[in-house]
């Protein structure tokens, strides 16, 4: 899979690492059960801090996209990973769009809540 980070981007490097993996899971270039390269190697390869990469991996774990196991490293979780990754990508896009038009977090949450009640 391809990792790319832009040092001039306002997005933190850790989030960019997470976004790269999310995108790779979403487009199927990384499949469930596959091992991600060890954080140490990604850090050395890109010339960035190990903890930055680990922050990115940690975020992916919180999103349920990968499992972090001692000794086995980061493994893409089984199950509906590509769909889930796509959904996460969309959610992030939603937040970015809301911020762009000046919506507050509460307003956005209210909007999502309304959509949820309408959807049922």
């Amino acid at each position: 899979m391809l990792f790319r980070v832009d040092h001039s981007s306002p997005v933190t490097l850790g989030d960019q690492i997470a976004a790269a993996v999310r995108g790779a899971i979403a487009d199927g270039s990384v499949r469930s059960g596959e091992r991600l390269p060890p954080a140490r190697e990604v850090a050395g390869s890109l010339g960035i801090n190990l903890h930055t990469v680990l922050r990115g991996y940690q975020r992916l774990r919180e999103e349920g996209l990968i499992e972090l196991r001692r000794g086995r490293g980061a493994v893409v979780t089984a199950g509906p990973s590509p769909a889930r990754a796509r959904l996460t990508v969309q959610a992030r896009q939603l937040v970015a769009d809301a911020r762009a038009i000046g919506l507050s977090d509460d307003e956005l949450l209210a909007l999502v809540r309304t959509s949820l009640t309408d959807g049922t």
């Binding site: 899979m1 391809l2 990792f3 832009d6 001039s8 981007s9 190697e41 390869s45």
Partner: protein, 329 residues
């Protein structure tokens, strides 16, 4: 930077491998001729652990065996140095090793000849252990000199980058990128499992000690089930999927252009694993898509891996960047 082509690095390295054994053969011959009158007819030619002679042979056969071995080294290491020219790192080690082996052999033979000189009875010949230490020191010195004489592979090669037609991956100057993927093999682990099964049979019929070499080989092959291929600012790096050692690296400055092509393991490389043949070398774990890099030395480096096109495009982009800022970035 344009520079005149010096005599090729391979020619120089072949000389580093061939010259010491030929030189040692000359020294051995001249020492033999100068001591000939004082040598016993039946010489002590093997010295036991205590420094006392325990092996004997005639003058003529000793000289023939020694000169044959030294000239054999020249052919063996010279040939290997030529053969392995696609991998300058291994080539350098091979050439320097050839020099060291020749120095070790030459020193010991001359020491044995001098120990024999003037002896009435070959059985009384002794050789102090110091000579062995000195021989290894001479080998180390010769290896170091050879290593230095080999020079770096980049010398004499013009650093031309990827051609305009090569596919690139758009990358901003502020961006860093790294591509990584595990290449799996079926042939190697299957062979490994078969060897382990063979080891089990040997262990049951002949005991565990005899099965050890097979066990070690089998375990090694099973471990090499996959290789992680990384393409980044450091070039192409290949390591076993499960460990980070051994590590094979082709730095960007040695890559002229990267591409991808289908590889047939058996037809193109005659098998699986680390393969070297004239003009090409690489890690071939299966047949199919492979990352192929044309090196500045003119030879090709290949590693079989899926999605090699992305890796090749990234490498071309990074090679451009490397050549724009020679200090690396």
């Amino acid at each position: 930077m344009p520079q005149t082509r010096r005599p090729s690095v391979t020619a120089r390295r072949t000389l580093v491998a061939v010259a010491p054994p030929v030189l040692a053969a000359g020294v051995v011959l001249s020492v033999f001729l100068s001591l000939r009158d004082r040598l016993p007819g039946r010489m002590a030619t093997h010295i036991g652990p205590g420094g006392h002679a325990d092996g004997f042979s005639g003058q003529g056969s000793f000289l023939a065996v020694t000169l044959g071995a030294l000239l054999g080294y020249a052919v063996l290491f010279g040939g290997l140095t030529l053969w392995i020219r696609t991998d300058p790192g291994v080539q350098r080690v091979t050439a320097a090793t050839g020099g060291a082996v020749a120095a070790l052999t030459g020193w010991l033979v001359v020491a044995v000849l001098r120990a024999n000189a003037g002896a009435d009875d070959a059985a009384s010949v002794t050789l102090p252990g110091l000579q062995a230490v000195l021989a290894f020191a001479a080998a180390a010195v010769c290896a170091a000199l050879g290593w230095a004489a080999c020079g770096r592979a980049e010398e004499g090669d013009t650093a031309s980058g990827p051609s305009a037609a090569a596919v690139r991956l758009p990358l901003r100057d502020s961006e860093a990128a790294s591509w990584s993927r595990v290449s799996r093999s079926r042939a190697l682990p299957v062979t490994g499992v078969l060897i382990l099964a063979g080891a089990l049979v040997v262990a049951i019929t002949a005991g565990w000690a005899s099965a050890l070499p097979l066990l070690a080989t089998g375990a090694l092959l099973v471990l090499l089930t996959g290789a992680r291929v990384t393409a980044d600012r450091r070039g192409i790096t290949v390591t076993p999927a499960l460990t980070s050692w051994p590590r094979l690296n082709i730095p960007l400055e040695r890559i002229a252009e990267a591409g991808h092509r289908p590889v047939d393991a058996f037809r193109d490389f005659g098998g699986w694993g680390y393969r070297a043949r004239p003009g090409a070398s690489g890690i071939v774990l299966r047949s199919g898509d492979a990352l192929s890099a044309r090196l500045t030395t003119g030879s090709e480096f290949v590693v079989t891996v899926d999605d090699a096109a992305t890796a090749a495009a990234l490498l071309n982009t990074l090679a451009d960047r490397e050549r724009r800022t020679p200090t690396g970035g």
